[in-house]
């Protein structure tokens, strides 16, 4: 397990332009595989247009206590990009002014942003129906100052969504780092103890499953049943839903695919599994992603590829719903990750 980000290691894949070049060269340049836009056009689904904005996904910073092998954010302890309170206020103003019903906080470890709690407190005053925090779990046990997070989440009725690639220690630690599985189990128990994830509890605790390798996720329902059985039997842990997410070929996962000589096969798998029905519900059609410095993107993946929204409005301070609704969604070959099989989004499958 490497403990530094690609950026810190000065790896060429820390450069978004380089990633986009790789995604357009080789098999796609030789037209062995169709480019995503060509595939969409063949189905009469190009250009991709947004529908009603429902979810504002805010990346409050790339700093994280973990360095996961598949991380599309290239997050880690060495990343210093952090959203300021001023930008958070601009996000709150937008939330209050739009009909977006879901606020989805992500990172990095969002809890590491010094204004994280202030943001949640303020956001809970503006009438959000579903306030999501994507917690890596281990942050809860990483330091004393985070131990009360379950209580804090409960107080503000935060919807906790956490990552867990497998119900066994070996496969989890292989992707997320040594000791992550045991710390995650401890954190899940702490969340259960205050009511999170319990049957019929309004305190929602969902898990995210990402494959720990160069393969696509299996059936979400079957995986959820296996996770529930294993976590309940082995650890007496409860949770609500499992969201299965396909790893997109960018950043550290792209680095892994290339280094392990799986890149071409993986792209073939994604393209072979292309499902036009998934295109109708991809998350970029109802979500906007905001970066730590306030720029707007069609999704968190485009944010990491520095593909800003194709609109005269590109920053949260200039937000205009009408103008943004007319944009075309920016696509590249990584988008095949969201349209494979039953589809993939931050809320799991889409078909």
């Amino acid at each position: 397990m490497k403990l530094k980000s690609l950026q810190k290691r000065e790896n060429e894949l820390a450069n978004a332009k380089r990633q986009l070049e790789i995604l357009s060269n080789g098999i796609f340049q030789k037209e062995e595989l169709p480019k995503f836009s060509t595939k969409l056009a063949a189905q009469d689904q190009f250009p991709l247009k947004p529908k009603t904005l429902e979810i504002l996904q805010i990346n409050v910073g790339y700093m994280c206590n973990q360095v996961c092998a598949h991380c599309h954010v290239d997050a880690g302890p060495d990343r210093k990009e952090i959203m300021t309170r001023e930008t958070m206020q601009q996000c709150l103003d937008v939330i209050a002014a739009t009909g977006a019903h879901t606020l989805d906080l992500t990172g990095g470890a969002p809890e590491m942003n010094p204004d994280f709690r202030w943001f949640i407190e303020e956001a809970s005053k503006v009438g959000i129906k579903d306030m999501i925090v994507r917690s890596n779990l281990t942050i809860i046990t990483a330091n004393k100052k985070y131990n009360d997070l379950p209580e804090f989440f409960k107080k503000h009725n935060v919807h906790v969504i956490s990552s867990m690639p497998h119900w066994t220690e070996g496969k989890t630690d292989q992707q997320r780092g040594d000791g992550v599985f045991n710390a995650s189990i401890k954190a899940l128990k702490m969340l259960n103890a205050v009511g999170y994830g319990m049957p019929n509890s309004e305190l929602k605790l969902d898990l995210v499953y990402n494959p720990s390798g160069a393969f696509l996720p299996g059936d979400q329902m079957a995986l959820e049943a296996d996770f529930k059985k294993a976590l309940a039997t082995n650890f007496d842990i409860q949770f609500h839903n499992l969201f299965s997410i396909t790893n997109l070929p960018i950043s550290r996962f792209l680095d892994y695919l290339i280094a392990s000589e799986n890149y071409e096969d993986y792209m073939y798998n994604l393209v072979d599994a292309f499902n036009p029905a998934a295109v109708d519900n991809v998350m970029c059609t109802n979500t906007l992603s905001v970066s730590w410095d306030g720029w707007l993107y069609d999704c968190d993946f485009n944010q990491m590829l520095e593909l800003k929204v194709d609109s005269p409005v590109q920053h949260i301070r200039d937000f205009n719903k009408e103008t943004l609704s007319k944009r075309n969604i920016c696509v590249s070959q990584h988008c095949y990750g969201c349209t494979a099989g039953a589809g993939s989004s931050c809320q799991g499958t889409v078909v």
């Binding site: 497998h166 066994t168 494959p211 696509l216 299996g218 059936d219 079957a222 296996d226 072979d272």
Partner: protein, 111 residues
């Protein structure tokens, strides 16, 4: 033509067999699909049986496909290896049980 009998990328072309006999090809794939649906056995159990049989028939395409399939289903490497041993035990048992025939013949021909 490739220089080897087995080409990994040929697995992706499996569906093309219908091009030379659409009727039988389609029937085969329909049958194949139905076999692996959830039934009295779970799809997961069938996936493990398929993995074991893939080894017994020594089909590299099948091993490739059902290892990936197992990973997708969250099947662990311990489960996969036990399944292969189940197949191997039957295969080696099938060899060894024939030694009864050898023993019979040996005894019959010996004074």
């Amino acid at each position: 033509m490739s220089n080897t009998y087995y080409e990994p990328s040929d697995l992706r072309k499996f569906g093309n067999i219908t091009e030379w006999n659409e009727d039988l090809g389609k029937k085969f794939f329909e049958y194949y699909g139905s076999v692996f649906e959830e039934g009295a056995l779970s799809a997961r159990e069938k996936a493990l049986i398929a993995l074991a049989v893939s080894h017994v028939v020594k089909c590299p395409y099948c091993i490739d496909a059902y290892t990936q399939d197992g990973l997708k289903r969250g099947i662990t490497k311990e489960e996969m290896m036990e399944a292969v041993h189940a197949g191997a035990a039957i295969e080696s048992g099938a060899t060894l049980v024939h030694s009864v025939q050898m023993m019979n013949k040996y005894k019959k021909l010996s004074m």
